[in-house]
Amino acid sequence: MKYAFYPGCVSRGGCPELYPSAVKVADKLAIELEELKDVACTGAGVLPQYISDPINARTFAKAERMGLPVMTICSTCQGVMAQANYRLKEDPTYREKINREYLADEGLEYKGTIEVKHLLWVIFEDYGIERFKALIQRPLKGLKVSPFYGCFLRRPPEAITPTKELNRRKAYLDELIGILGADMADISGKGKCCGFPILSANEENSLAMVAKHTGESKEKGADFMVTPCPLCHLNLDGNQAKAEAQTGAEIDLPILHLPQFLGLALGFDPNEMNLKRHLVATDKVESKVNMLT
């Protein structure tokens, strides 16, 4: 199995613990990654579509030339790319216009054949759950975990859950918690937004959302929350202290990236998964995990 790997900006910037954890996990699973190095940021829903569509079309054209599907490790990258890819695949006239006006100059063309998949989808849809289960070395027994998807990994349906069968994608993280041997601390907002996109426009609302999701998870007795989106992580982990100060509630809920969660069950030491780099201390999670080995 081989993918054109699109790590995204945040996995090397604001969440530098994510990139190496993902690479280690992929290596353990024998998923071969060829990194797309000369491509741009997706635009992250900040840049307007008329700029982000051409730069994403360029990324797809490069992957197409490699003959590989794209793998992401960020719900936001995944969502923005899947939406752009949907438009480019559905509307050949639009695709041709972008090819002609933006890609031809570099000798590139996007033919509309590329699939973009988040690591979470890759495990369920390409790798196979049974094959994955066989590699679990440390079932995370006794740990209680809340899922948090990142809204771009749930919607809009035409790009994220285009068929009835793929509606399952909305439950992959829930399923994974059970597969890794952990218990579920379900929360009502697991498919909602974390608040990150409005940090500059309305920090108060953004932090209220952090407090709502992490507070509910804590109330349900979670040891930690797991997210496939590093932007959610930046807000839920990075701004949790600010959310506590705003609401006056003590939350103290560690947030793990999806690859870290996978890695712990695959037998990696917590240090190898770089848990120490989080802003909310993960000591309690680490000691519980170490007790399991």
Binding site: C9, V10, G13, G14, C15, P16, E17, K37, D38, V39, A40, C41, G43, A44, G45, V46, L47, P48, Q49, Y50, I51, P54, I55, R58, E101, Y102, D105, E106, C151, F152, R154, R155, P156, P157, K192, C193, G195, F196, P197, I198, S200, A201, N202, E204, N205, A208, M209, K212, G238, N239, A241, K242, K276, R277, H278, L279
Partner: protein
């Protein structure tokens, strides 16, 4: 079948405290929740208050929460909600002032917000008094014009439960309908109105509204289009303008995002108070080896090409 409706009650003329009444009535095959509400009011309890008007899924007046999710009671079949047992809960919308029982304050919920976006068209006057638009130019708006203001998008919105003053997807979709009307000579002004705080920039574009809209109008995509239009003509919300300018400059110059730079430039380089606010988190992050240092950022290979694409797209859309 016999179905028990557990209905939210509140009577401001009594103690005004919320309670719940249980009504068991016969719901024949094909009965809607609204049919049952009428049966309850006519045959069991004449004091039960609820709203309904067209009774055919056109006006949106009868929206309540059926087993927790917002539905038009006139199109919601009882049989769709009794699979787990013959009980159905009915509640007014979340976070909305209740007038009595299932009747909530539509003005506070939606109409005041729709009024706030100045929902009228400032069309150019023509000599013959007509303003004919080619059919193709209205194609995109036709879908939006089918909005019947049921408020389902607002009920599904992620922001409204945290901030009831947010304009919400229904009002912002109305703003789109006007800003993108080819006859509107004040389109720019229309966008500026919704750029103010509590408008388009307070939206997290999570696409919940699109999932809730019964007409497939896709309110989130309309909000995103308004934001793109604002970007194109110059964002007027100061904090958002700084954030977007920094984001764009970083991708344009290096191909990817300089997050440290984005953090400081979003606050404003001369905004000492704002920059100080960043310090506690930045210091903590630095101690964990994860705060990206602003402007210490390498160019991605191929960034010159990305810059070219960027510049061309900006030029074309001017």
């Amino acid at each position: 079948m016999q179905v028990t409706f557990k209905v939210y009650r509140k009577d401001p003329e009594k103690d005004g405290k919320p309670s719940r009444s249980n009504y068991t009535v016969e719901a024949p095959d094909g009965a809607t929740v609204l049919d049952s509400l009428f049966k309850i009011r006519d045959e069991v309890d004449g004091t039960l208050a609820f709203r309904a008007s067209c009774a055919r899924g056109y006006c949106g007046d009868c929206m309540v929460r059926v087993n927790g999710s917002a539905r038009l009671t006139c199109t919601a079949k009882v049989s769709a909600y009794t699979q787990k047992g013959p009980e159905i809960s009915l509640d007014p919308l979340r976070n909305v002032p209740v007038i009595k029982d299932l009747v909530f304050d539509w003005d506070a919920f939606m109409w005041n917000k729709i009024k706030a976006v100045k929902p009228w068209l400032d069309a150019s006057e023509t000599a013959d008094g007509e303003n004919i638009v080619p059919d193709a130019a209205m194609a995109d708006l036709r879908k939006v014009l089918s909005c019947f203001h049921c408020g389902m998008c607002d009920e599904g919105c992620t922001i409204l439960p945290v901030d009831f003053d947010f304009l919400g997807p229904a009002a912002l979709t109305k703003a789109y309908r006007l800003a993108f009307d080819p006859r509107n000579k004040n389109s720019r002004e229309q966008v500026k109105i919704v750029e103010k705080p509590k408008g388009i920039w307070d939206c997290v574009h999570c696409y919940e509204a699109d999932e809730h809209c019964p007409r497939g109008i896709e309110p989130t995509k309309r909000i995103v289009a308004l934001r793109d239009r604002a970007y194109q003509s110059g964002i007027t919300h100061e904090a958002v303008a700084r954030h977007h300018a920094s984001f764009a400059a970083s991708v344009k110059e290096s191909g990817w995002l300089d997050e440290g730079r984005l953090a400081v430039e979003s606050e404003g380089l001369t905004n000492v108070k704002g920059l100080m606010k960043l310090l506690p988190t930045a210091a903590k992050a630095l101690a964990r080896g994860k705060a990206p240092i602003p402007y210490m950022h390498s160019k991605r290979p191929g960034s010159d090409q990305i810059k070219k694409i960027f510049q061309k797209a900006e030029q074309e859309e001017k």
